[in-house]
């Protein structure tokens, strides 16, 4: 292992920060140059994420699992210095982020990056914040990275300006500022009791907390949890999400699809680490809240999808359903369900991001308010002018429309969870894990009611998504008689296609990917290796990764 490879873990944070800062210095008129840096940096991040993922998944020659690359900033020993930890979960999230970012940035090159100043810098800062939040092993450092990504996201929400975006941005910023303050309260409460901010150290100290202080630690964790659930858009704290996401420019909304998953990531990491099986009396603290919040979010999102009249709102509600599903599955606290939730999270994030991008292309050829008009027509039965439509029979759809239609069908099958793509496999994995709880032998034992609730919620939300998507699709592709074919460029269609192809790949290689997710879930539910690797004194530190 060379010395440079040791510092590889820092690169996903340092590279975008550096690129963003450099681009700030470049004049705004040299847009091609900035775009070049942004694209190069984003694709470099994909490479980095793949390298880290392979490292974290590799098994060292001496047989020890080396899935933890621990990077100590300034070589300070663990509880005192800040650590960056690259394990299976964080490298997976890094890869997902960089893939979404690459798709969004290529898409934005067609026209959206010209809609306002400093798009490329803000984009890179957002990536730095996201990557940092996924990598850090320190609670307060997590807060700093959260603020970094939020500050960048405030700028990106407002990118393109206009009253709708400023209004949505105002609500978004206010809600997130309150969440950040809650985050601080939770962190300081936990620090006041446990006396440490290092996540691994915290996990070691929580079982030993005296019972009088335990309530305070739990209160701190609950306040912290509310901050994360708010960011993930869990009901009843997710009302800001559909408005913000549908008002944001499409490439920004596509990247924001990962932002709700940051909340899911932190809950997965912290909750399973601090309140896993080893936490003594606090084990599984708050799990039922996660499940019920998740189920309510699924219901709210499904109803929202049925009610939404334009497609970008529909996509935003699909984000809500996906984050609700993830939380409901995580909250059950079973390794099998967590693995399914991870698989589902990857697929649904890719699918909704592709849908956000696709919506803009489809909407481009239509006059504004067409959806409103269509709904009014449905209700009042006016404008049934399909008599002249006989002349139109047999007209071939232009290639662009055919591509958009195919993309739409693929997105619909991802969001509704229908067979060809990975959405179906993800839901299948979730349900089969929910209905086969560990320790249940064939024909004996009852399936807990909450599993049935998850089953009903998943199936019904899939049905709602299917109905909503079919209605939107019919309205966008079949109903308009004299619609103009939108002008779509290759660099706009390619990212959408790439994201959907990735969904297909995820379905085709479901076996190995699911195996990786299972390994991830196992190490999340048994975090002893994580704690040990982080707390190990640096002089005894083994090399950072595989090979």
């Amino acid at each position: 292992m060379s010395r440079i490879a040791d510092h590889l873990i820092l690169a996903p944070v340092a590279l975008p920060l550096l690129a963003g800062a450099v681009m700030l210095l470049v004049d705004e008129r040299r847009r091609a140059f900035k775009a070049g840096i942004n694209v190069a940096c984003t694709f470099a991040l994909i490479g980095l994420a793949i390298a880290l993922l392979l490292m974290s998944d590799a098994i060292a020659p001496d047989g020890m699992p080396s899935q933890f690359g621990v990077y100590r900033l300034g070589s300070w020993p663990a509880p005192f210095g800040i650590v960056l930890v690259a394990d299976r979960l964080s490298t997976l999230m890094l890869l997902l982020t960089s893939i979404l970012a690459a798709a969004a940035v290529v898409f934005s090159l067609a026209r959206w990056h010209r809609a306002g100043a400093h798009f490329h810098s803000l984009f890179q800062f957002l990536l730095a914040g996201l990557n940092g939040a996924f990598l850090t092993g320190d609670l307060f450092n997590l807060f700093v990275f959260f603020e970094l990504l939020l500050a960048a996201s405030y700028g990106l929400v407002l990118h393109g300006s206009g009253p709708a975006r400023v209004k949505a941005g105002l609500h978004y910023i206010a809600v997130n500022l309150v969440a950040s303050l809650l985050f601080l309260i939770g962190v300081s409460l936990i620090y006041g009791i446990a006396g440490t901010l290092n996540m691994a150290d915290l996990a070691a100290r929580i079982p030993a907390t005296p019972s009088g202080d335990r309530r305070l630690v739990e209160a701190g964790a609950a306040v912290l949890g509310i901050a994360f659930l708010l960011k993930a858009g869990i009901w009843p704290m997710g009302f800001w999400l559909p408005t913000t996401y549908s008002a944001a420019t499409p490439p920004v909304a596509a990247v924001f699809a990962i932002m709700t998953k940051v909340g899911a990531y932190v809950v997965l990491r912290l909750w399973l680490l601090l309140f896993g099986e080893g936490a003594g009396a606090s084990a599984q603290f708050g799990g039922e809240w996660l499940v019920s919040g998740g189920l309510m979010t699924i219901a709210f999102g499904a109803i929202g999808m049925l009610a939404s009249q334009d497609m970008s709102r529909l996509a935003a509600f699909a984000v809500l359903v996906s984050s609700g599903t993830v939380f409901a599955a995580i909250g059950m606290g079973q390794a099998g369900l967590t693995a399914g939730a991870l698989y589902y999270m990857i697929g649904s994030t890719l699918g909704t991001a592709a849908f956000f991008l696709l919506v803009e292309l489809v909407e481009r050829g239509r006059e504004p308010g067409a959806d409103m008009l269509a709904v009014t027509r449905e209700v009042y039965g006016e404008g049934e002018d399909d008599i002249e439509e006989d002349d139109e029979v047999g007209i071939t759809a232009p290639a662009t429309m055919a591509m958009l239609g195919l993309g739409f069908i693929a997105c619909a099958s991802m969001i509704a969870g229908l067979p060809p793509l990975s959405g179906f496999i993800a839901k299948f994995a979730l349900l089969s894990a929910a209905l086969n709880p560990p320790g249940m032998t064939a024909g004996s034992g009852a399936i807990p009611a909450v599993s049935w609730a998850l089953l009903v919620a998943l199936v019904l939300s899939g049905l709602a998504a299917l109905i909503a998507m079919t209605r939107a699709g019919i309205r966008a592709f079949w109903a308009p008689v004299d619609r103009a074919v939108p002008h779509v460029r290759v660099i706009e269609m390619a990212p959408v296609a790439a994201l959907l192809v990735l969904c297909a790949i995820q379905a085709a290689y479901a076996g190995p990917i699911m195996q990786y997710m299972r390994a991830t879930a196992q190490s999340l539910h048994g975090p002893w290796t994580y704690m040990h690797e982080v707390m190990e004194p640096p002089h005894a530190m083994r090399r950072v990764g595989g090979t």
């Binding site: 307060f140 407002l158 209004k167 950040s180 303050l181 601080l184 006041g192």
Partner: protein
Amino acid sequence: MEAILALGIGALAGSGVWLILRPRTFQLVIGLSLISYAVNLFILAMGRLRIGAPPILLGPATGNPSDYADPLPQALVLTAIVISFATTALFLVVLLASRGLTGTDHVDGREQER
């Protein structure tokens, strides 16, 4: 001392929460600032209140740690102050943009119909 600080934090946080539930953007920004002051004091209080105890070791001699105040919350407070200052400034810009675009200082961008 603890009681006074607790009352102060409570007053600040309570006023802040009341203000962020108000419909005007200026009230919102003042409310957020008040809550952030309350949170900063709270972080400081979580390092335990000490009078006359320095946060860093004096001289090369390693003294008894219980003679010193916990330096970490003080560092955290500094970070939190800087971050909340920056985000408040950013929020003020959005507030002005919203005022300019909608012509009202209502958080919904339009006055409530009566």
